[in-house]
Amino acid sequence: MSANLQNENPEVKELNQLPSRVEEEEDLLLSSTKQWLTEIESEQTNIKEERDPIDPQEIYDLLAKINDPEHPLTLAQLSVVKLEDIEVVDNVEGDSYITVHITPTIPHCSMCTLIGLCIRVRLERCLPPRFHVDVKVKKGTHASESQVNKQLNDKERVAAACENEQLLSVLNGMMATCV
């Protein structure tokens, strides 16, 4: 594959330029604090937890680290996945859906379907089943946009693709860096 790259010189974003949520909460939870008060508070306060809604940034973080099948770069670095192209409606009681528009690096990119499939698989693995997931190619960015969209949102085709062991191992390879 690498011998004959379709897009030899893609636009690459530096890692520090990518939109990210500083994950301090986990460190804060796990680090032992040196404040004298916490000792007393932990025993007294009741657990009250507000819900953090699922937002585009959270979805972006799930997808950002997927590796491109051609380059040793992530989809976020290549701007295939962009924060502004993710739509989320998170409604615990009713309908929830997510739409991700991907931007191929070049209009005739044949990897587009594979990337879209990988995004779909990743989201289905990481999101609760109440979400309806749509993965689409961004309008006007790909030569065979409607065809790719049709393939990506055909449940049976996606399911069949996931049965294919060879394809699955390629997808797993792309997602290997997502941990």
Binding site: N9, Q17, E23, E26, L37, I40, I47, C126, P129, C178
Partner: protein, 1018 residues
Amino acid sequence: MSSNLVALYLFSIDRSQDEANDVVDRIVEEIVTDRMGIVDLVTSIGEYLTDNNISVRAKAVLLLSQTLGELPKDRLPAKHVSVLLQFYLSRLDDEVTMKENALGIGALLNMQNFPAQKIVDVCKALFSSTDMPKYAQATRLNILKVFETIIDNYLFFISSQTRDAFFSGICSTFAGEKDPRNLMLVFSMLKKILSTFPIDGFEQQFFDITYCYFPITFRAPPDATNLAITSDDLKIALRETLVANDAFSKLLLPALFERLKASTVRIKIDALNIYIEACKTWRVGAYLWSAKDFWESIKQEILNSTDAELQNLALGALNTLASKFYKEEGFSSSFTEFVDMILIQLSQRLLEDVNVKSCGSCAAVFASLASISVETFNYCSCNFLPSVLDLPMVNEPLEKQKGMLVFLEYVYKCLVLLYGKWRSKNQADIDNPLLVYKDKQLSFVSGSLMGTAKDETEIRMLALKVIFLMASIKNFLTESELTMVLQFLDDIAFDFSDPIKKKATECLKDLGLLKPDFLLLTSFPFAFSKLTDDVTAKSSSEETFKQYLSVLVSISEERSLFKALVIRLVEMLKDQFKSKEMSVDLVESIVQSLSVAFKERNDRNEQEIPFFFEELLKQLFTLCFANCESMNVRCLIYVSQTINEIVRVNHFEFQEKFVGQLWKLYMENSNSDLIETEGCEKAAERFTLAASLSDQKFLNLVVLLQGGLNGLSKKLHFIEKLNIELLNLLINVVFVTESPGVKISALRLISSLINKCEKDEDISSFISSKGVTSLWDKVYTGTPKESEAALDVLAWVDKALVSRKHSEGIPLAFKLLDTLNLQNVGDSSVKALSIIIKDDPALSKENSYVEKLLYKQRFYASVSPKILEHISTATGGEKSLYLMLLSNVIGNVPKEIVIPDMPSILPLLLQCLSLSDISVKLSTLNVIHTSVKELTSLLTEYLDTLIPSLLAIPKDMNNPTVVRLLALKCLGSLPEFTPTTNLQLFRDKVIRGLIPCLDDPKRVVRTEASRTRHKWYI
């Protein structure tokens, strides 16, 4: 005798190398003690040396060679060495014993009496008789070692007449080596020859046998576990050999440039590393001729590469080359010609297209040239910058603006480097070529920062970096411009919804360190007026106050700013207490911020203690005493922590004086300097600790006493001697108080006083005093509340004893352990016993609390067997109490001491996971999470129990976030360390079981659940 030993050697060498070595040792001993001569040995093995059996011949030579190797270096006289050398050289045509021969020659070369003039004969014989490709690796290695000895010790005996023959012999012998072990030796020898000798006439030959290995890669075969050589070792050795002599210059550099133009990234990186090394090692004249060729071969990598490592390395190489060039030739015409060539190409590229990528790479090249010196910066700026900086910026597409900002960032970084920041001693002339562009750029950068939409993070972040750099450069911006920049930064840092507020706060902090007076006049009034507005409007919550104050604390690292901040905050506190509409939230936020500010200051290890601290202590005590009725315990604890931070870092005399005043205030009915007379003299006059026992509001002031005494030095007379009166009063406080905060403060103070006291005997007599012994009665016969308080006191006393390894510590813990059987007291006993081993934030080494080496280990080793014994016999509720205790103990000792006991403890820990107590779950999960790597095989046996428990915890919303998170982390670490085959059975169950966790209310848990689930798709 010798013939017996020879026979024994020949017999034993096939069986065991150790036995054979023993025989050699015996022979050496015989020779050293003159019981055997070397001639005897040679005679004894003589018959074997001509044996038709190859193996026997080889063994015989090996014996002789090994013996020579083990003999003391000065043992053999020159005559014997010569004869033996002749013997070995004459045997070189016996190919099958070449390995052993080489070993013997090597041993002789190391002899003190080796005749150096013979070295030419040795070389000649070796060159003519050896045919390296024929031999096995070990044989080649022995021959190479002979050459190593020659090169190390006898290189200078090679005369000019014999030099040519030696060099060509070396080149043909060393050529074509393939084994990495031998190759390392070859490289090191070549390096020595090349760096010691002029190699005129042999450049091509030496270059050929060395460069043929480039690019070198090596991966050790999977069965070669002892092979310590890595690909990097070989790369480094090859690099050092290639740059050892600059005679290679004309051969090496063109070859490297070819590689740089067309090969894979890894090879280009290797080639660049060699080039950089060459620039650093060689005479400048040896490579200057190549400067233009280098740029031509590397410019594509710098301007268009997608590999950051390669790009940075190439820039580093360019910088090294240019700075060497500048140092050697100064500002010569050839240097400016070189620089001009590059700058013209950069200009052309930028004129084609201005975007982030082109600007970033061009600016990086500019910076690598311009940053060499002020002179080069001025030259590069005058010749190149106008073409870029005159480009229109405002109203251009966003991409173009971003590109320009990236460019400016590099330019201003150079400027900071060369002209220095404010406060730096760098006196470079500031008449820099960028001054003419300052206004235009400042307005452009300000527009990008403040004029674009908030969520355009990328461009605003870039603008922020540039404007910060501009503000940092010494004498660059005027006062009014600086003020304007600070106002921008204030607007961002104090806008809590701004995504770049954190970076803006950092910039403010750094500018505060450089120009504190400006922050004092700009940021402080801004923040305090906003804070006051919010308080007046009553629109803000505690969270908002804390955010304002946290930014203020962050930016006030500089000393004068810190002082100003503390004074303003204390004034604000005073105003609040005077005000009729006091905001409790604001008061709490202020005292909390004060404690954080002092703690961070101490954590930064700022040695200097400002003089106003003494005054501050007075103000804090006065405020609290005057307002103790309206101040809650939480606020008092924050103040107490602030007092502790101030006192603990202060000098001995200060502490001595302070403790005297504190004593007056709390124990005697006399005037203390800690109270300003204004307003609260009445409260202070009425107050003593003993009297306060009858009034809960006054009792709260114990919290401040603890803060004051907690951090005192052990050497203070007050601390050295145990103060029984105070201790008994504090015990009473524990029983009387209704506030958990006051209770824990009193307990901490009791523990701190006992722990830091000088003499063990004083402690023993206190423990046996009525005040303490009566506590046991309360444990057994008192009301539940009394027995809980008594247990708490005993536990905190024991904590002090255990951590200073007092002899009564462990027995007291055993007595406490016995209370677990008591009805209605068990839970409190578990809590009490856990306190002994749990780290407490107030009782730390920083506060001079004595924590002797391995005290936790000792406690664990004594107590855990007892707990395990009880667990095996206990039933029902009692058992769960012991399990809780076990988990708490294990969770608080270093994991290294628990791991050996894990086979017996793990099944019990797994039971703890199903208990409802949250702290038990937390400590159990912590133990499992931190030790899963070491426990892989053990955990495999318990997967049936472990996985369902771990799956159940995150689904149960009664567990707090941290417990749910840790359970998922434990579950996620299993596939990382456990063999896949053991987990296959559970795979589908876990993947299915984790679905509810993907919808957890907390984002951290959801993220961890998706990570864990991802890991389980094995």
